[in-house]
Symmetry: C2
Subunit: 240 residues, 2 copies
């Protein structure tokens, strides 16, 4: 199976063949977006819904003084703005990290999806997972010390990318720079750098050249109290 949307939605429950076929039609044609490019900006509205097919993107909000908070990452199979036709304007922006492949899906197609019970439930599940993730991030940023906060972020990437089949062995590609990690965790870039070195010295994880290698999965998860329940990936094979 190479339809990333199907793959993602079937983490909730298997889909009828007819639904899978609809998803196969929806997933084309693909458009290329360069790295570090805004897909949609706060205040904008739009008729289409965008879906990430390949690459990494993120949602973010800015403060007037220029400070930035990343509020979510978007992986292949994630929708950018499923809600544009309910809400009048975006309350945040979305940008690519790496070069991405994106499809634009018409409003009518979305309605078609939502008309199918199995798909509607799967999309609802995806929404709930996103909410659960934001709650966990709030806990992370609000209560965990810097080292654990960063470790937790890497645990989450590990589990989500693994579910998407994007982890080979014990390492995965992650096109983030340290400043992205800083803006995700509410820390300064300098402190992120210090922490990454400490995590490396502790033998928990290595980050070099946009490649993350997790030496000690259990150790890392235990260190930051990572509990994947909030991702609701009940169909997930246990961690190796």
């Amino acid at each position: 199976m190479d339809n990333v949307l199907t793959r993602k939605l079937e983490h909730f429950a298997p889909l009828p063949a007819a639904d899978r076929q609809l998803l196969d039609e929806i997933v084309l044609p693909v458009r290329d977006v360069p790295a570090r490019t805004d897909l949609i900006r706060e205040g904008q509205s739009s008729d289409n819904v965008r879906l990430i097919i390949q690459g990494l993107a993120y949602r973010y909000k800015n403060l007037a003084n220029g400070r930035r908070q990343v509020v979510a990452y978007l992986l292949p199979g994630d929708f950018c703005d499923l809600h544009v036709h309910i809400l009048k304007a975006m309350d945040h922006s979305i940008a690519t990290v790496s070069a991405c492949k994106v499809v634009d899906i018409s409003r009518h197609r979305i309605a078609e999806m939502i008309g199918r019970p199995a798909l509607a439930r799967a999309l609802w599940w995806a929404t709930l997972v996103d909410e659960g993730t934001m709650r966990e991030w709030l806990l992370n940023v609000g209560q965990r010390p810097a080292l654990e906060r960063i470790a937790h972020l890497f645990c989450e990437f590990y589990v989500k990318l693994r579910a998407a089949g994007m982890v080979t062995g014990t390492s995965f590609a992650l096109p983030l720079i340290q400043e992205d990690i800083a803006d995700t965790t509410g820390l300064s870039m300098v402190h992120v750098n210090r922490c990454l070195q400490q995590l490396r010295e502790a033998g928990l994880l290595k980050v070099r050249h946009r490649l993350v290698e997790i030496n000690d999965t259990d150790g890392l998860m235990h260190f930051c109290g990572f509990n994947p329940n909030y991702l609701h990936l009940d169909n997930l094979e246990p961690v190796a």
Copy 2:
């Protein structure tokens, strides 16, 4: 109109009379829950969906070391766990702040609501508003300094309670203690205390005896860069 659910959902769009009638049936019978009581705990699941009719409650998550993060407040008209039958277990807990009146709604009733297009859209809108709020909180906790962070929280309460008709003039009841504010903003109780005094000295806002008085609405909102767009209350009368 005294149906808090109708009132809330009609912030999105007016509802057909038949839908309003369904909501009137749903909103009974009411059950009393004392203050500072868990409504549902992380890991639990449940067949019913709870709806807050009166009082204040909050969603929260705990760390193993006992630290607590409040991730959302629930006002009259808010559902506690609309998703229990999609997800297998709660990924967070919910507790009351003040004594609350709550209704338990059966799964079948929820399905009935979702079957009505106008209600389904209104519920979807409510979900999206909750998501938008969490993104704003992430920005708040991750990027704003303590004073602005607390000011922002009070701005949000002001606007939401005002939309719910729970603000009289320039002040409103808010049963939170300083420790709640601390656990909401990711600050220590002591620092919250310091900040509240500074906000008072600055003539922006006074908090005493669970009563908040906002002296200078515009000043307060400007001070913390509050922009209510994320609440998507397009039908809201402008701030007095």
